[in-house]
Symmetry: C2
Subunit: 198 residues, 2 copies
């Protein structure tokens, strides 16, 4: 059968990334071999190298893809909700963060757990992207302090605190539980708002 | 040389646990072999089995030991600061949590990351201990709501949120950084207090 390189690559690349994501999340990066990933996809180990030079690149691309998706989704959400009011922007950020991350438990787990396994240059690039996301929250907090609606002695530390609090939802929330996601968002928004308000 | 079983065991057991902790934190449980742990300690792989039946038991005992240390330290701290005022108890809990965990980055990392690798019975026991710790915070919040000093619509969810926020300190705080631990405690206490206050 003649292979159409383009379309074959289009299908196999995402399947490889999905398999790697699942295996890394289940067993950890260091415990997973390229052979295992190939087996999960149903291709020969050698064929994997048509799509990625090595396992490190695969991990890096998963983490970079996750951060780029996050930044793109956040930019789209912010564009749909224009306005300069820091309180409204903070609520939008809070609800967005919970909704975006609850649907990506494996990516969130890996983003935290596998930082230690990134090569220094790759680590620096992921940190740069993460920083861009944190910067928006810090700017919202600074704007609110400037307008007197927020009282935050250290906006950088407060941005870490808010993001850590929101990330925690992933560790306990189950969609079949007693609370809807909308209710969870509202509970967290209530705490975030009070934590930073003047 | 005649071996004194008791004293030998007293020294080697902790060294095995320390080696396993470091290796699990660096590479992940699934990627670490009993042979590697033995190599780090400087004993034969076979000798390890005098101290632990298997790698799962080693992981479980590390996690259980961490939770038991946490509960014992917390009970001692609470005993030293008696009193029924929910605000004072919450401040004490907040500062204690940050101080206790900042000194144990590997244990904290493993407590989160390796839950997936516990056998079901072991997982249940760790969850039970963790629950006991969370229960104290939930009780402080409920008492404060009862006295009208806190406004927390869902004390259980609020306890998750507070603990996740405080755990986040470990991901960014460096003792050589611009803030002292005391300053960090105060910044977080300010946010926790406001987040739950009426």
């Amino acid at each position: 059968m003649a292979r159409t390189q383009g379309s074959h690559s289009d299908i196999t690349g995402p399947r490889i990334r999905a398999a790697a994501l699942g295996l890394f999340a289940r067993h950890g990066y260091a415990a997973v071999s390229m052979r295992q990933i190939a087996g999960e996809v149903g291709v020969q180990a050698g064929a994997l190298y048509n799509y990625t030079p090595d396992k490190q690149t695969l991990l890096f691309e998963l983490m970079r893809g996750h951060m780029e998706d996050l930044l793109a989704a956040r930019a789209a959400e912010a564009a749909e909700n224009p306005g300069a009011d820091p309180m409204a922007r903070l609520e939008n950020f809070t609800r967005f963060h919970i909704r975006f991350h609850i649907e990506r438990p494996d990516e969130v787990f890996i983003a935290y757990m596998e930082l230690r396994n990134l090569d220094p240059a790759n680590f620096a690039e992921i940190e740069h992207l993460r920083r861009a996301y944190e910067d928006e929250l810090e700017m919202i907090l600074r704007d609110g302090v400037g307008q007197g609606v927020f009282a935050v002695p250290d906006p950088r530390v407060a941005s870490y605190a808010v993001i850590a609090m929101l990330n925690g939802v992933n560790t306990w929330y189950r969609s079949a539980g007693r609370l809807s996601l909308e209710e969870v968002e509202t509970l967290y928004w209530d705490m975030v708002r009070k934590a930073v308000s003047a």
